[in-house]
């Protein structure tokens, strides 16, 4: 089976820029590994977590990244259900992103747990797997399933392209359809994880799942657009304008709905301003003089509004010099709003009223950056391999085999004749 050696040989070669990027990411990842060692010897006291605020940067990032993973469906859905030609050419890149994002979620889960060495306690039969009661049990199930689905779909596609065969639709298409629905489920279950906790009034409302889905479908495509523009600039793969424009359109809609949901939350909570609104009040205005998250909230809101307006105007949306700015603003705004801006205020005040603040330590921040770097490391590898195969530069038989053209491949014709 020459797929693996060919794949890895292709990945390991690159330009100076590639090695610099990977080396930079590797250094940051090493810091994360060191942080992981510290957490598993000294405990989570090296972070800023307390019994009052016991979910911080790690949980915030893992919740956000589940959304990014779900956002890959914005490529798969148009490609296979609407037969969007431009998206179809690059679907596998979306699946690679989904794989990396789910791996990052799992990395952050390891960072977040008190005893990652006891993770085997969750395996069925060897341990105890609490279904249907525990939302976290459901979350692990759907995330693992999503990882497997994307892995199988993505690498089956790549392997078929690599070996010059045709996709077995009977095997492939059901998995694709399942993965589309499954993407929605991973983020809904993650939303349920916090929205079913009656003790936390800031989260205990039914708008949480839809908020998660729309912010995921806004943030995921922002990252995908940035990745696509980078791929255009640095590789030989040319991603069509239609694909990028469709993603911008999706972002416009989803960002708009997300802002609307934020507005409704603010109005509903602050109209009566009960004690249940204390978490939101802390986030927006501070509580009892503790105002650390206030600039983050307003900054993220401004970022999201500016991004929304930029995406709304067609001439800006299709201007690929301004599009990265809008994407970064959108991605960053949602990262703050859904990450730190949702997770931390949920614990302020505690259910019996203690108001404390969360101060992430340097180790925690470096570990977060390091785990993101590790995720991007994996993402770069996966994207590079996929691009190599899409371009026909990695194929069975090497230079001797006939090159396969992406646009006119037999598989594309096979899909379109459904």
């Amino acid at each position: 089976m020459s797929f693996a050696p060919d794949y890895f040989r292709y990945i390991l070669k690159g330009s100076m820029k590639f090695y610099a990027w990977m080396g930079f990411l590797a250094i940051l990842s090493a810091i994360a590994l060191y942080g992981f060692y510290l957490q598993n010897t000294e405990g989570l006291i090296v972070t800023g977590l307390t019994s009052q605020i016991h979910d911080g940067l790690y949980f915030a990032n893992l919740v956000f990244l589940v959304g990014v993973a779900a956002g890959a469906v914005t490529i798969v859905f148009p490609a296979y259900v609407h037969h969007h030609k431009a998206m179809h050419e690059v679907t596998v890149l979306g699946e690679m992103l989904a794989i990396s994002a789910v791996i990052m979620v799992m990395l952050f889960v390891f960072a977040h747990m008190g005893r990652p060495d006891r993770l085997w306690h969750m395996l069925p039969y060897i341990g105890i797997y609490n279904l249907p009661g525990s939302m976290l049990g459901w979350d692990v199930l759907v995330l693992t399933g999503y990882l497997l689905l994307n892995f199988v779909c993505g690498f089956y596609f790549l392997y078929v392209k690599y070996s010059g065969g045709t996709i077995n639709k009977k095997f492939f298409m059901p998995l694709i359809y399942i993965s589309i629905v499954w993407a929605l489920s991973i983020h809904t279950v993650t939303a349920f994880l916090i929205s079913t906790l009656a003790a936390r009034p800031m989260w205990f409302h039914s708008v949480m799942p839809i908020r998660f889905i729309v912010t995921a479908f806004a943030a995921g495509p922002c990252l995908i657009i940035l990745a696509f523009l980078t791929i255009r600039k640095n590789t030989k793969l040319w991603i069509q304008d239609e694909a990028i424009n469709l993603l911008s359109l999706i972002i416009t809609w989803c960002l708009g709905i997300a802002l609307f949901l934020t507005l409704s939350e603010v109005v509903v909570e602050l109209y009566a301003r009960t004690e249940h609104a204390n978490g939101l009040y802390y986030l927006m205005f501070g509580l009892h003089g503790l105002t650390k998250l206030v600039p983050w909230f307003w900054g993220s809101l401004i970022a999201m509004i500016v991004a929304f307006v930029m995406f709304l105007i067609p001439s800006v949306r299709t201007n690929y010099k301004l599009l990265p700015i809008a994407s970064v603003l959108g991605f960053g705004g949602i990262w703050v709003e859904k990450g730190m801006g949702l997770v931390v205020p949920g614990f302020i005040p505690t259910p019996i009223g203690e108001v404390t603040e969360y101060y992430p330590t340097m180790i925690e921040i470096m570990m977060t950056i390091g785990l993101w770097a590790l995720g991007f490391f994996i993402l770069t590898i996966l994207l590079k391999g996929a691009i190599g195969i899409l371009l026909g530069e990695v194929r069975y038989g090497g230079a001797a085999a006939k090159p396969i053209d992406v646009a006119s491949s037999g598989k594309t014709a096979a899909y379109e004749s459904r």
């Binding site: 977590l49 969750m122 009656a198 005040p349």
Partner: protein, 364 residues
């Protein structure tokens, strides 16, 4: 375009003719540097991963001698509730050995099961509590909580809330929002009185009770429908037949879902390796109760199982100087708590959450 081509310098290049370099940046001068740096990069990467793996291995193998041999079997034990009585006895014996070695005294880990026809209940007289916090200190001493210099190393299961008497004054009457806007807020709004679920509850006056305060201690309510039990992904926390919600500390994975679910903030997390001086350690322990915990697990009040399953009172009940705390068997109509439920004005905290606590508050 293959900027990396330098056939003389790099024999690898000849093999890879079907995989040209990706990037468009053509820097012929950097060609020689690129080929060497790829090898160096791989070498460095390999060295880094190898050394970190070795380092991790070395650190994992390193441990205290007395504890090391025993911890291996302990690491792989199953969930306590699913063990056979023999396995349970083995688990307890392992722990006894380990704790005795660690704390240099004879430690017993009891495993007394729930007695039949016992449903434990607790009642607290809010009128009597003076906020002295002796219950907090006694609990810490009895139950081997971590106590150390760092705030993260200090765990107290009981939280005493200070409730203010209230100050409604004539001076403030017209200080609310003006009429014209249609938003009416009286001047005495936001004046603290009674239990206010917003604020900090650390008080350190010279003497208690303070003139303008009453006090309400809160710890685990031992709910009949515990939200913490429902969310635990590994079922390490569960309700025992005599009504106490317990945690198998060796099974807890530290995900903290239970801490998020508890409406009473009853659960604490060991962020650090617990600090427990040998002299202060209480050697009479129960497996599901006050045995010393480890980092990364959740712990909470368990109504002193090591005492109550032997027919004694929890430490907080015994130590309360004003007799505000009562404990007993809810299924016994003559127990203190049953009589209180029958005769006094009783209420439960956050009853709307439908958690059905067995910790009752009353006043007389």
């Amino acid at each position: 375009m293959t900027p990396n081509e330098n056939p003389a310098a790099d024999p690898d290049q000849e093999r890879s003719s079907e995989c040209p370099a990706q990037a468009a940046s053509a820097e012929p001068l950097a060609a020689a540097k690129t080929t060497t740096s790829r090898r160096d990069f791989l070498k460095a990467g390999g060295m880094l991963s190898l050394s970190s793996l070795m380092g991790t291995g070395a650190l994992m193998a390193q441990s205290d001698d007395a504890r090391a041999a025993i911890e291996w079997a302990e690491h792989f034990q199953g969930n306590y509730r699913l063990m056979t009585p023999k396995e349970k006895a083995e688990a307890r014996a392992r722990l006894e050995k380990r704790y005795s070695a660690e704390y240099a005294k004879k430690v017993t880990v009891d495993g007394t099961e729930a007695q039949p026809n016992v449903l434990m209940g607790y009642a607290l007289n809010v009128r009597k509590c003076i906020g002295c916090r002796r219950c907090v200190k006694a609990c810490v001493a009895e139950n081997n909580q971590s106590r150390g210099p760092d705030a993260g190393q200090r765990i107290e299961w009981i939280q005493v809330l200070k409730m203010e008497r209230g100050e409604f004054s004539k001076e403030k009457m017209n200080q609310g929002y003006p009429e014209g806007l249609g938003i009416q807020v009286g001047g005495n709004a936001y004046s603290p009185a009674g239990a206010v679920l917003e604020g900090q509850y650390h008080y350190e006056p010279a003497a208690v009770p303070e003139k303008d305060a009453t006090y309400m201690p809160i710890a685990c309510m031992q709910c009949e429908k515990p939200p913490c039990v429902k969310v635990c992904p590994v079922r390490t926390t569960y309700r025992e037949p005599d009504g106490v919600v317990v945690i198998d500390y060796n099974w807890c994975i530290g995900c903290r879902m239970c801490m998020g679910a508890c409406p009473y903030w009853a659960r604490r997390f060991n962020v650090a390796n617990p600090v427990l001086p040998k002299e202060e350690m209480n050697p009479v322990t129960h497996y599901l109760g006050n045995r010393p915990r480890m980092r990364g697990v959740v712990e909470k009040c368990h109504w002193c199982l090591q005492r109550t399953r032997q027919g004694r009172y929890p430490a907080c009940v015994e130590v309360c100087p004003v007799g505000a705390r009562k404990f007993g068997n809810l299924l016994d109509p003559e127990s203190e708590v049953s009589l209180i439920l029958a005769r006094k004005n009783v209420f439960r905290l956050k009853a709307e959450m439908n958690t059905f606590p067995k910790f009752f508050y009353f006043y007389d």
